[in-house]
Amino acid sequence: MITISNWLLNAAFILYVCSSILFVVAVTGKQWSGRDPREHERRFGGLAYILAVIGFLSHAGYIVTRWIASGHSPTSNMFEFMAFLDFCIIFAYLILYRIYRLTVLGAFVIPLGILMLGYAYVFPKEATPLIPALQSYWLQIHVTTAALGEGILSVGFAAGLMYLVRTVPQQGKSRANLWLEIVLSVVLMLVGFIVLDSTFSRLDQNTVFQLPTQQMTNTGQVVNQQVTYTLPAIVAPAGATIVKQGPMNPLMEAPTWMEGKDAARKLNTMIWSILSGLVLYGGLRLLVRKRLGAALQRTVEGIEPELLDEISYRAIAIGYPVFTLGALIFAMIWAEEAWGRFWGWDPKETWAFIVWLFYSAYLHLRLSRGWVGEKSAWMSVIGFVIILITLVVVNLVIAGLHSYAGV
């Protein structure tokens, strides 16, 4: 069953990749010789949409089979959660596509979906039984609703980014297009990280460190903790000795204040991500010989900016109540039941609150202060960054009650 579910997810991944290639062809290939641009967009866009729908169904199949196999909703560790979030992003995309019928939306959202799914693959994929804290039907309710809200808000980000690509002038230098390039290079860092991590985990070039800190095994023996790096080590954990030599010698040690046995490994991963993202960015710039924003601008040519603004806002207006319900209200009810307090300022709770405050500010600025268009689009980008901090950084960097096992 688990094998079937893994295959369904792989199939979904491949279908999404094919779909986004077709979407890009649909929006950029309009000027190809001897074609009717409308007919071209309709044909390829339609095909891409169908592939995305099949991918989505396959993705749904993965969720159902994994749910049956493990006996709980697949939302209990980082791999399952990211795969589920990605499912929600695609779902939100399908809904918004039905409303607005805008082909190019798929050219931005589906790659975002691929990125999130690729990120899910980085985490250990095992289906684990639930620890006591997660044994509640609220796991199903709270996590799925929160992920759905975040998925819809992510589509708001994608549309906001499209608005910026469409409207930020590419003639001359400006702060706006500098920031746009920064956003795009951060996306590339995530791509770089996923590529590096999946490559190295196949190559089996692990470096193993022994830490000075000790832990007790289940059999009661006290042993030194060990950390395994998948990526070559640039930064070693403080005071650690190498047990198994990797492809390169560490260049430096992590600062001692970094908490947890995995802190140095995470720092190492971060450095690799930034480096690979910058290399990718540099390579792409050499290839297209202009700003990436300028290169992307072609895909959204001829689309009314107001429509993009509207889609972004609509997605956020739909996602905000869902997020509030799932990430705050259901969370409070579960917390009350599990820990006897509905709110405890745990980092994850606090960051969910921050996301909520941010989108509240977005709505107030938009509705009462007339922040539409570019300002609103930048807000949607920042909002997505805050969501990513909540989902990823808080889990991986700040230790708290929500830390997922394994990573």
């Binding site: 429509l307 921050i354 009462s368």
Partner: protein, 544 residues
């Protein structure tokens, strides 16, 4: 000239921007600006608002401060940044310092996070969310919620309950979506308006009609969404405030050994830990084979507990008389609930020292064991008979032994982390010997003692950590959250749409307004134009 008097004859209150009756911009004649630029924002229907009208007294100023959305947004953003700052380092509640004195806490932040940690502590950020200024921020947000809502909802209610039919042309032209037909167009208003009304009625619009004017309106209730969600938030915050009233909120934590019954502080209740167990998932129960490196995944943390009430709780000095009121397992996610009290499985100390065991040896009889001695570390018996004619008395007991500064033995805590006993063994034959047990060894005071104690395997016990909570404000808080959700969904999933069709000066005028989703409204109006076959082109202005 009385600025409040509109040319249609209606008298508007001071501060009105669009005439309440005919919709003509009130200041329009005064400013002499072109129509478009002078057309006010439609947000509150151009009604007079207290905050925009008065600013004389201190109360006006306070009102105006809190009624400003700009201030509200600033408060939201400050709270956002403050909340984020609070997650840079763990809050005091989450730091791994067991018994914390202020000095321990200060040292923790300094040693763990260096200079920045010290500053963090000095600024009080380790207790950020309970600091006076953070609470003040929340109170300000609450005030802003109340005043913002009152300032807007009353005028808005007045405006919306009187549908704007047959408005001044400048009102229609001022709308974001507007279009008109050329003068020579062959439209018969007597036929066009009923046809349009018919079409819009089928689309679910509510219609208001006069001879040459039509207003179609849909989902007006969505305009109340923001105010309802703000009321929800106010109820929520009120619920949070309620918890500071004595008796509304209880937060206790007790450690209970297996077999022990302890009193829950501040309540007449006692809880007994009958048995505690931790279970681990068996490999056969797992969905797939895992490489756990010798570890295991816990399945349950469970305390079988009995809850008693002390019937004599109201009689000071009376002996407790316990009556059982609830019984059953307490698991994570499944608290024991009795009336408004909830008991949560919240921690465990496994394999803790429970009792020391000794064999009593008679050295005169070739170290023969004559009896065994058990010393309970939590409630040691003062005297016990270990064998026929041999008794052991506990002279002194220090659960967590340290040598005090004055050279006398003392105990650091009342937890048996380092138990020390002073004992006396007496036999019927008149032998009386003193012994001391400390750190796993037994020392006798006599040079050639008759009796010796041999240290045996001690008893280990599990101590369960139970959290006891009472929170009477929770229903209020949930109710507030529910109202918030209702309001937010009303305001975001529906849109208030209005379409005006008006025949005036030989032209057909068409205007539309919505509070969101202009795309949808525009599509609907374009469909109307197409169906009616009107020579009208809609223009969407760039302002919201």
């Amino acid at each position: 000239m009385d600025v409040r008097k509109c040319e249609c004859g209606h008298t508007n209150p001071v501060g009105t921007m669009l005439c309440e009756s005919c919709g003509k911009p009130v200041d329009f004649q005064e400013s002499g600006q072109p129509e478009q630029a002078a057309f006010p924002d439609m947000r509150y229907e151009g009604m007079a608002r207290r905050s925009q009208t008065y600013s004389r007294t201190i109360i006006d100023r306070i009102w105006n401060f809190f009624s400003s959305v700009k201030i509200a947004i600033a408060l939201i953003l400050i709270t956002l940044i403050a909340s984020a700052v609070g997650t840079i380092f763990p809050q005091q509640d989450y730091i791994p310092v067991p018994v914390s004195t202020e000095a321990d806490i200060a040292r923790f932040y300094g040693e763990t996070y260096g200079k920045i940690g010290e500053i963090y502590y000095a600024l009080g950020f380790h207790n950020l969310y309970s600091s006076w200024w953070f609470k003040t921020l929340l109170v300000f947000i609450g005030t802003s919620l109340v005043i913002c809502s009152l300032d807007r909802v009353i005028p808005l209610y007045k405006a919306l309950s009187r549908p704007r039919l047959n408005q001044h042309l400048s009102f229609l032209k001022g709308q974001k979506l507007y279009g008109n037909s050329p003068e020579e167009a062959s439209i018969d208003p007597a036929a066009a308006l009923p046809a349009a009304a018919d079409f819009l009625a089928r689309k679910g619009y509510r219609l208001f009609r006069e001879e040459n004017a039509l207003l179609a309106e849909k989902a007006r209730f969505s305009r109340w969404g923001p105010y309802i969600n703000h009321i929800g938030l106010i109820i929520f915050l009120f619920g949070v405030l309620l918890r500071s009233i004595p008796g509304f909120y209880l937060d206790q934590f007790v450690w209970v050994r297996e077999g022990q019954t302890v009193s829950i502080p501040e309540t007449p209740y006692y809880v007994k830990n009958v048995a505690y167990k931790t279970e681990y998932w068996d490999e056969s129960e797992m969905p797939e084979k895992l490489n756990l490196n010798g570890g295991a995944i816990p399945k349950t943390y469970q305390t079988d507990a009995v809850l008693y009430v002390n019937k004599n709780a109201d009689l000071p000095g009376a002996k407790p008389e316990l009556a059982e009121v609830a019984k059953g397992p307490i698991l994570v996610n499944h608290p024991m609930i009795y009336e408004d009290l909830a008991i949560y499985q919240s921690g465990v100390k496994e394999m803790e020292l429970g009792a020391l065991n000794f064999a009593v040896l008679d050295r005169k009889a070739g170290n023969k064991q004559v009896g065994s001695l058990k010393l309970d570390l939590y409630a040691p018996q003062t005297e016990q008979q270990v064998a026929e004619g041999i008794t052991v008395r506990v002279l002194d007991y220090f659960p967590d032994f340290v040598m005090g500064n004055d050279g006398k033995p003392a105990t650091k805590t009342n937890q048996p982390n380092n138990p020390m006993f002073a004992l006396e063994i007496a036999s019927a034959e008149g032998v009386k010997e003193k012994l001391v047990y400390v750190s796993g060894t037994v020392i006798s005071d006599s040079k050639d003692p008759r009796y010796a104690l041999e240290v045996k395997m001690p008893d280990f016990i599990d101590i369960s950590g139970l959290m006891v909570r009472k929170d009477k404000a929770v229903p209020v808080i949930y109710f507030g959250a529910l109202i918030f959700m209702v309001g937010v969904v009303m305001g975001t999933y529906w849109q208030h749409r209005r379409i005006w069709v008006q025949w005036e000066n030989g032209r057909l005028h068409l205007a539309g307004h919505t509070n969101k989703n202009w795309f949808g409204l525009r599509k609907e109006m374009e469909l109307l134009i197409a169906k009616m076959n009107w020579p009208v082109t809609l223009v969407q202005k760039g302002k919201s």
